[in-house]
């Protein structure tokens, strides 16, 4: 099932399938978020801010809009 990162609850993870925004995709990939990368939603920021993610072992923070552009494949029970 396809979900955007922002649709995941804290603690859940998935594998990157594709991106919905070309510009962001370019930047995200340079930072190591690639199709096939394992992305876990660790927590959400104070003030309802950004997303604290673990991408292939690296800790990274993205704004909601940035995280939203990442489409993940989520296994039924992750």
């Amino acid at each position: 099932m396809d979900h955007s990162v922002t649709q995941l609850k804290e603690g859940k993870f998935g594998t990157v399938r594709r991106f919905t925004d070309e510009r962001m995709a370019g930047k995200l990939m340079t930072m190591g978020v690639l199709p096939g990368s394992k992305v876990q939603v660790v927590r959400i920021a104070p003030f309802n801010g950004g997303y604290y993610l673990k991408v292939d072992g690296t800790n990274m923070v993205l704004r909601e809009a940035e995280a939203d552009s990442i489409v993940l494949e989520v296994l039924a029970d992750s």
Binding site: R23, M31, V42, R43, A45, P46, G49, N59, M60, E66
Partner: protein, 703 residues
Amino acid sequence: MNIIALTGNPNSGKSSLFNHLTGLRQKVANFPGVTVDKKFGTLRLPGSGEVRVIDLPGTYSLYPSSQDERVTLDVLTNPASEIYPGAVVYVADVTHLEKHFLLLTQIIDLGFPVILALNMSDLAEKEGIQVDTRQVSAYLGVPVVSVSGRRGDNIAALRQEIDKLLKEKNRVQGASSVFHFYASEEKKVVAEIQASLNIANPYHALLLAHHHSRLSFLNNEEKTQIAAICQAAGFKDLPLQIAETMGRFSTYGPVLKRAIRKDGERNTLTDKLDAIFTHRIFAPLLFFAIMFLVFQAIFAWAIHPMNWIDQGFISAGDFLNRVLPPGWLTNLLTEGILSGLGGVLVFVPQIAILFFLITLLEEVGYMARAVYIFDKVMQQFGLNGRSVVALISGGACAIPAIMSTRTISNWKERIITIMVTPLISCSARIPVYTVLIAFVVPEDTLFGIFNMQGLAFMGLYLLGIMAALVSAYVFKKILKSKERSWLMLELPPYRMPMWTNVWLTIREKVGAFILGAGRVIMVVSIILWGLATYGPPKKMERAEREAIALAQERSLDEMATANLVAARKIEMSYAGHLGKFIEPTIKPLGFDWKIGIALITSFAAREVFVATMATLYSIGSSDDEATIHSQLAEAHRPDTGGLVYTPATSAALLIFYVFAMQCISTMAVVRRETGSWKWVFIQFGYMSALAYLGSLTVFHLLN
């Protein structure tokens, strides 16, 4: 001289390696034609002799996201640059190699002789990560060295490899691209650019195709040429960039996977700490608690060193007064220069501790967390999460704070950050606040525990912060921009600070402050002293005669007469004339002409206020031992006879110093970072207006 560049991703530990290689032989300087300061140092090698090492700001790829990241691209694609390196030492975090290889393969494709330094080998050991360096070296075609910047492991081997590389310089120049397979539009464009601009390396040509509009070293003719070539071939920047990035990863990914062996998942100390430090509710509270502690620590730890320095200057003053003959030179030395210098240097302990704690927060990795915590809030004010770093460092000094905005890619967010950062109370304001608070707030405690003057101090800081946020909001509403804004930040693992890094940073910043402040104070003191002692001869003589006559009329004693004469003479001096000239504008704020002079001299640098006061109030004064405080306390207005430094006037003056732009160095940096004087004027304008209105309001409220 041979030049080598140190490059790599952010957080790869480049600076520690740089420090190991160059030791104390390093400097920060500005290179002509490039807008960024670069850190460079020298390395002495047995074979190659003296080698210049340049530390380039970290970037993830040669497709940069911010000005900081742009530097590496600018330097590596401009062979005509003064700092074009002959070789590159690529520093990679061995615990996250896959990501670090993107930029590495790009640089190798550019044809540079490269050494791969696999840094953080100590961490790798701890986490059970093993890399087959021989395989990696064979695949990349470059020498590989495993090092630990933290422990200083294997630096000698790195130096050896650098020496060897520089000797065998005729390596891999302009060769084929191993890591990128050119699409047909790319091939076409590359061939044409290589031909028309005489470029040897195909990847170099490709980068020019992607970035030509923003590379400053290309002239207009070259830019139009390249643009035409791209247009004709149907070269689409973004899709090709994405394809290239993905292509690189899929090319080296499998090979790297085979060369690395990892044991198990890493759920580390960082994760545990971040559960607290980035906690949804506690994180901001914790942040403010930490800031408060930092504030307290600065004042608590600095007390003793400050007393020693104070004593030192007093002794020096006494010594000079005893040893030198009485006269104008001695006066200038003791009352003008020494007093002024002492008044500022006494704050060096506080400034040093402030820089220390802020650098520590950065080194440990906490600043990135602060960016994360406040990004949403910052956006409400037209700022970026990264602006938090500038605002915090602004508490020490606005200059490095403004330079740190290079990591903000959105122009509007960056400009607003630059505009408002100087409103944060910097360390130069500390001497001013200290002197003036004494005249506004009594030395008492609130509820028996809170030191009132301390609270007032904090209040001033908070005022600066609020003014910065409000001003940012106003700018946000006024400036228009459609540009997109990003956060996308990597959080480095928490780490023990590299104490040498910390020490070197403090030494550099505090040293710069002392030298800068010292120079300005000396120059201003001498000029001011001259202006305040001399005046139009006829007027000075008449003032003296009139003063003596008046003194006789009132039957004043010798000391009182001398003081009256001095007071009248200084009013007739050049400084007096200047002060009286501007007095009408500042009278509504409760200021007199001497304060007016102080405002003028402070325009150069805030800390000059103390030196100015020392000079103006001690000239002709017969009391050698008066402190600045006692001199101000006894200052009376000539017309009303009342005190000059009433709570109302002192408060108004304080508020003025909170808001006003009084630092030539800051203005110079803003000019450099924004590329024009326009923003300097805007900043000076709005801050001056804020200062004037603020003082006016406070004076009238308290009067």
